[in-house]
């Protein structure tokens, strides 16, 4: 949060999402209004089925709300055409998935270059930048290895490098540590924090793991598709402390 002049980067206005399955309706989101500022590290917390992933998809331009608006940098993403949406996903948002989602037939370097090539960056430039990013996440020595040859933690590091490839404004990570053990999970969170500090990227993660909260500037608690409370880091520290205290 080096030069944080509280610029709004994501704003949602009464976002609702209803899934229809036959005659049944699932109200996954029931009016979410929240503002996320540039350079923040936000964690979205909530029990399983509370609507975290659904909210994520709205913010990431992956799905459209049933009603309500999502603004990314003051642009209503419902107004964007197919090409503009693809462009937004490519250039402005970096996605990190629970299941890593690397392209198995490509090596680390090619995986990280991919978004840059999509964005029209030249091949040489893309390779150089990909190599630099991979070195940054600590995989400089494994540029030519393919994902199936790597551990989960290493794959997630490649995914982080890939998410950073086009210098996005926002990184969305839905349970980035869900498939990792505790130690590796912490390393991934530390890496994300470092990137945030260094490059001022906004990070939004979803998790239901309390231990992953320490890095957050704010925690948004979601229950049954509604925001139940928003905590700042200051309020949080006590909480996290007491939780780890209870466990010890």
């Amino acid at each position: 949060m080096s030069n944080n002049n509280r610029r709004e980067i994501v704003r949602t206005q009464d976002v609702r999402k209803v899934y229809r399955m036959g005659s049944e309706e699932v109200h996954a989101l029931q009016g979410i209004t929240v503002t996320i500022y540039a350079g923040e590290y936000i964690s979205i917390m909530g029990p399983s089925g509370s609507g975290k992933s659904t909210f994520f998809n709205m913010v990431g331009g992956l799905d459209k709300p049933t009603s309500g608006e999502v603004y990314i940098d003051e642009v209503d993403i419902a107004q964007l055409g197919i090409f503009e949406l693809a462009w937004l996903r490519c250039r402005k948002i970096g996605y990190i998935f629970q299941t890593f989602n690397l392209i198995p037939v490509m090596n680390a370097l090619e995986n990280v270059s991919l978004p840059m090539v999509f964005a029209g960056v030249g091949a040489d430039e893309a390779r150089d930048k990909a190599a630099a990013l991979l070195t940054k996440v600590g995989l400089g020595h494994r540029l030519n290895h393919r994902p199936p040859e790597m551990s989960g933690g290493q794959q997630q590091r490649i995914a982080i490098a890939r998410a950073m490839a086009n210098d996005p404004a926002i990184i969305l990570a839905d349970e980035p540590t869900g498939n990792l053990d505790l130690k590796t999970g912490h390393e991934i969170i530390d890496l994300l924090t470092e990137l945030k500090e260094e490059r001022g990227v906004t990070i939004v993660t979803a998790t239901h793991d309390m231990k992953m909260l320490a890095a957050s500037d704010r925690v948004i608690w979601v229950t049954d598709g509604k925001i139940s409370r928003i905590q700042k880091r200051e309020e949080l520290d006590i909480k996290v402390g007491s939780i780890s205290g209870e466990e010890a």
Binding site: R7, I9, S53, F56, N57, G60, L62, D63, I72, D73, E74, V75, D76, Q79, L80, I82, F83, E84, A86, W87, L88, R89, C90, R91, K92, Y95, F97, Q98, T99, N101, I103, P104, V105, M106, E110, L114, P115, V117, F118, A119, G120, A123, R162, A169, D174
Partner: protein
């Protein structure tokens, strides 16, 4: 963008305007080939399927072609040799001998063809031909369904991968291109194998049913260049047709599909 009067910082550096959001050919082909290699086991089945159908198609056509050629050349050759022989009787005994030997060859070929039943009843021959066409059609359809099914499986397996590509900015067109190139690859390789197998089968068939000595080198070459390109093109077109529906399914996948944890 919706209204450019706002001082949007995210959307500001649109600079280059509409860039590609797709991959250059080299990388696309690299990706397709990698995917085929990754699923070598399953694609082996497709390869074999295409190869068998193309081989069947090829051997049928070529075999018929070769027999027709033999029939024609045996007939005309016999006639021309006969004339030559009559002339040679008058001039040169040595040449006469050569002409007579060739005449005997032609007569022999006709005899072999007749023994194999190729001069007999044209009606039953036609009926047999019709049956062959039906068989080819049927095997073609079966092959089509098989390829479609296998490719659909591959698309289902790759839901997350396709969704991820879309999250990274790929447009539908790119996904279509990816799967189409893949099917052209599969079709080309499968039918090439099939065409070669079919060609060998043709030679064997002619040799077994008739006589190996009847196959001349030039005729073998001619059959090869007439049949193989046709069979490869037909096999590839068949494969690409089979890939149309799976490609459509893949292209319609949503970026959200990348989020699926279970497949």
């Amino acid at each position: 963008m919706s209204n450019s009067t706002n001082k949007h910082t995210i959307f500001a550096d649109d600079g280059g305007g509409r860039r590609q959001l797709t991959l250059p050919w080299g990388q696309t082909i690299h990706m397709c080939w990698g995917n085929i290699r990754n699923r070598a086991g399953r694609f082996m089945l497709i390869f074999i399927g295409i190869a068998v159908v193309v081989a069947f198609f090829m051997s049928n056509l070529s075999y018929q072609g070769m027999v027709d050629d033999l029939k024609a050349s045996a007939g005309t050759e016999a006639q021309s040799r006969l004339n030559q022989a009559a002339e040679a009787v008058r001039s040169d005994a040595k040449e006469y001998e050569a002409a007579r030997a060739e005449l005997e060859d032609a007569i022999h070929a006709q005899a072999v063809l007749e023994r194999a039943g190729f001069y007999s009843d044209t009606i039953s021959e036609k009926k047999q031909g019709d049956q062959q066409v039906w068989l080819m059609l049927l095997s073609g359809i079966l092959c089509l369904v098989g390829i479609t099914n296998t490719m659909l499986m591959s698309v289902t397996e790759r839901i997350r991968e396709i969704g991820t590509l879309k999250c990274l900015g790929a447009l539908d067109g790119f996904v279509i291109r990816l799967f189409m190139i893949e099917s052209v690859f599969i079709g080309l390789v499968g039918s090439l194998i099939g065409a070669l197998v079919g060609y060998i089968l043709t030679l064997l068939q002619v040799g077994m049913v008739l006589e190996f000595s009847l196959i001349s080198f030039s005729q073998a070459i001619q059959t090869f260049f007439k049949g193989v390109p046709l069979a490869v093109v037909a096999g590839t077109v068949l494969t690409v047709m089979a890939a149309v529906y799976p490609t459509y399914v893949a292209a319609r996948m949503k970026p959200v599909d990348a989020m699926r944890v279970e497949i």
